[in-house]
């Protein structure tokens, strides 16, 4: 489940977000709710990346100020203002989406899909696996550990996932890791060994093997093209 924070001084917004998360069985778990900038600051100082729904105009700090200070979260801005300057600033600060009040169900779901990087599946278990992989791809991961997390028999989970998505769980995990590695190669801050660890491979040879299978070139060759 994706750890989620809701920040808004309007209780009605919190209520609508909660309603949709439950009703649509989205793989989001609400870990904190803040009603103003100060409360939000406490929640956002957590190291772990959260999906954050955030209002702009709030007591103490604006949403935009908080986004700038705590850049490691995935933000979706929820505002009644359709002012271009607000939307522009929000997107520049890395917001995945800017949705308007009153909150439209379709716009809400599309924004979450955009933020977590996959389209929701009708089967809630698939969504749960996908969101776990998207948020924890760097952790050691096996079919048995995943089946423990979603509470389902490993072989049943494996078959269900293959049937619904056309891919195995492990190949999906490697795919997510490769996309992350590729993004890190682009920024050129880390060397290949560091990247390998960062995306979840303790053995660099395994990383090379998967990279070559996915991109058809070595990491160094791919970095040279950027």
């Amino acid at each position: 489940m994706i750890p989620t924070i809701l920040i808004d001084d309007e209780p009605s917004t919190i209520s609508i977000l909660k309603h949709f998360i439950q009703k649509e069985e989205l793989p989001l778990v609400i870990e904190g709710i803040a009603r103003n900038g100060l409360e939000a600051q406490k929640l956002l100082s957590a190291d772990r990346t959260h999906l954050v729904f955030i209002d702009i105009q709030m007591p103490f700090f604006t949403g935009l100020e908080l986004m700038e200070a705590y850049g490691h979260h995935k933000y979706i801005v929820v505002s009644a203002f359709s002012l271009f300057s607000y939307a522009h600033s929000a997107l520049q600060l890395g917001a995945y989406d800017y949705i308007l009040k009153p909150i439209d169900r379709d716009a809400f779901i599309a924004s979450v899909e955009r933020a977590i990087g996959f389209q929701f599946h009708k089967h809630p278990v698939i969504n749960e696996v996908m969101s776990y992989l998207k948020f924890n791809y760097f952790e050691p991961c096996s079919l048995s550990s995943l089946s423990g997390i979603v509470g389902m028999d490993p072989s049943y989970l494996s078959r269900l996932f293959k049937k619904e998505t056309g891919k195995t769980i492990m190949s999906t995990l490697h795919e997510i890791r490769m996309q992350q590695a590729d993004a890190l190669l682009k920024t050129k801050d880390l060397d290949v060994l560091e990247i390998s660890y960062k995306v979840g491979y303790e053995n660099i040879n395994t990383f090379y093997r998967h990279f070559n299978r996915y991109f058809g070139v070595t990491p160094a060759e791919r970095r040279n093209t950027y």
Binding site: E10, P11, S12, T13, S15, I16, H19, A80, F81, S82, L83, L100, K101, P102, I103, D104, R105
Partner: protein
């Protein structure tokens, strides 16, 4: 400025509307009053505008032209295109010189009144005027006439310039007014958005209440309503895509369906090929709304709205029909007259929007026959 001539207060030149009057006034200021022979200026209406009152004794003894102006044959004037020279019954030579403005004679300069040589011979103690002197007087009169013409041209030009100045001033003021209107419109637009902030927060509250109360239908209605508000408070004078306009109409019709339920049937036939064309913002929905406000006014039968938007060659042909109240031929003719009247209501506003976007390259007309009243539009796919 107060101007006095011979002790009488006169208008100053710049106050003359008539350039001729201004020129005559300038003559009074000059030394023409002091000349030894008579000088007069008549307007085209035969009014004596200027007179230096230097008539020779011969005139004063015989005719007294200043008193019997109308009886003196010399004071008669005839507007001629060319300069005239004639001799009065008492032997004086008179010169009439036309003052021309814009090619035609519009005033007359009269002068001379010198003794003709042939007549002078019989009169005691009078030396006939030398030919050269006679000629000199004629030249002098011509020069005065030319001078007056010049001045008239000058005053006319100055008047025109002054009118232009006034116009420019007005234009400048207009531009300033427009500019400040634009500024206040911008402020108003931002103000509106701030006020909308309140409105949308309230709608958000209603939406949450609807969801908590398990009223999904109400929630959808609130969302549709707020989408309508958002769209219609958008770029008021800009352009939109046809797809956006159609989406707006769809939301509007969804809300109307909520109200009328089964009583309302909606038929659409839309060609996807025109989704991306640029059209004037908010030109479609008011036509549909017009069908409800006029077509379905006091109309209790089943209501039908049909929207057809088809691509035909390089044009989009749009027809919005309703099966409501019919309009007779006279009514249709009147509607067509109203369309182009520039009034600030209903369909004529749409006409103006289309005219602004497409110039002459569009058509808009209304038909009412076979149980359907239809507004037709034909617009180009490309905006110039």
């Amino acid at each position: 400025m107060r101007v006095y001539v011979n002790g009488k207060e006169r208008l100053s030149p710049k106050e003359f509307k008539d350039p001729l009057m201004a020129a005559v006034f300038a003559m009074e200021l000059g030394d023409l009053n002091a000349k030894d022979f008579p000088l007069m200026v008549f307007s085209s209406r035969k009014r004596l505008l200027f007179n230096n009152k230097k008539f020779p004794d011969l005139c004063l003894e015989n005719c007294q032209p200043l008193i019997h102006l109308k009886e003196c044959p010399c004071m008669k004037m005839k507007m001629e295109e060319e300069a005239q020279r004639y001799i009065c019954p008492f032997g004086l030579e008179i010169y009439d010189i036309p003052i021309k403005i814009d090619g035609g004679a519009s005033a007359l300069l009269k002068g001379g009144f010198v003794l003709n040589r042939n007549h002078a011979e019989g009169i005691m103690n009078v030396e006939p005027l030398a030919k050269s002197t006679e000629h000199g007087i004629q030249t002098f009169l011509s020069q005065i006439a030319d001078g007056i013409e010049e001045m008239i041209r000058f005053y006319k030009m100055r008047n025109t310039m002054r009118e232009h100045e006034v116009l420019l001033d007005d234009k400048e003021k207009n531009i300033q007014t427009l500019f400040s209107n634009l500024q206040s419109e911008k402020r108003r637009s931002v103000d509106l958005k701030i006020n909308h902030h309140f409105l949308f927060n309230i709608l958000n509250y209603f939406a949450s209440e609807a969801l908590t109360g398990d009223r999904e239908d109400l929630y959808s209605g609130i969302i549709d309503l707020s989408k309508m508000f958002r769209y219609s408070s958008g770029e008021e004078y800009g352009m939109a895509t046809f797809a956006e306009e159609l989406e707006y109409v769809t939301i509007y019709l969804r809300l109307q369906s909520r109200r009328y339920g089964d009583e309302l049937r909606i038929l659409t036939e839309i060609s996807p090929a025109i989704s991306d064309i640029r059209v004037p913002f908010n030109f479609l929905q008011p036509i549909v709304e017009n069908a409800f406000s006029h077509g379905f006014m006091e109309f209790d039968d089943e209501k039908m709205i049909r929207i057809q938007c088809l691509k035909k060659g390089s044009r989009a042909e749009i027809a919005i029909s309703n099966n409501g109240n019919m309009i007779d031929m006279a009514g249709v003719a009147q509607l067509h007259r109203h369309l182009t009247s520039g009034s600030r209501n209903g369909l004529s506003l749409i006409y103006q929007k289309l005219e602004m976007a497409y110039g002459e390259h569009f058509d808009m007309w209304i038909t009412s026959s076979f149980d359907l009243t239809t507004v037709h539009l034909s617009i180009p796919l490309e905006v110039n």
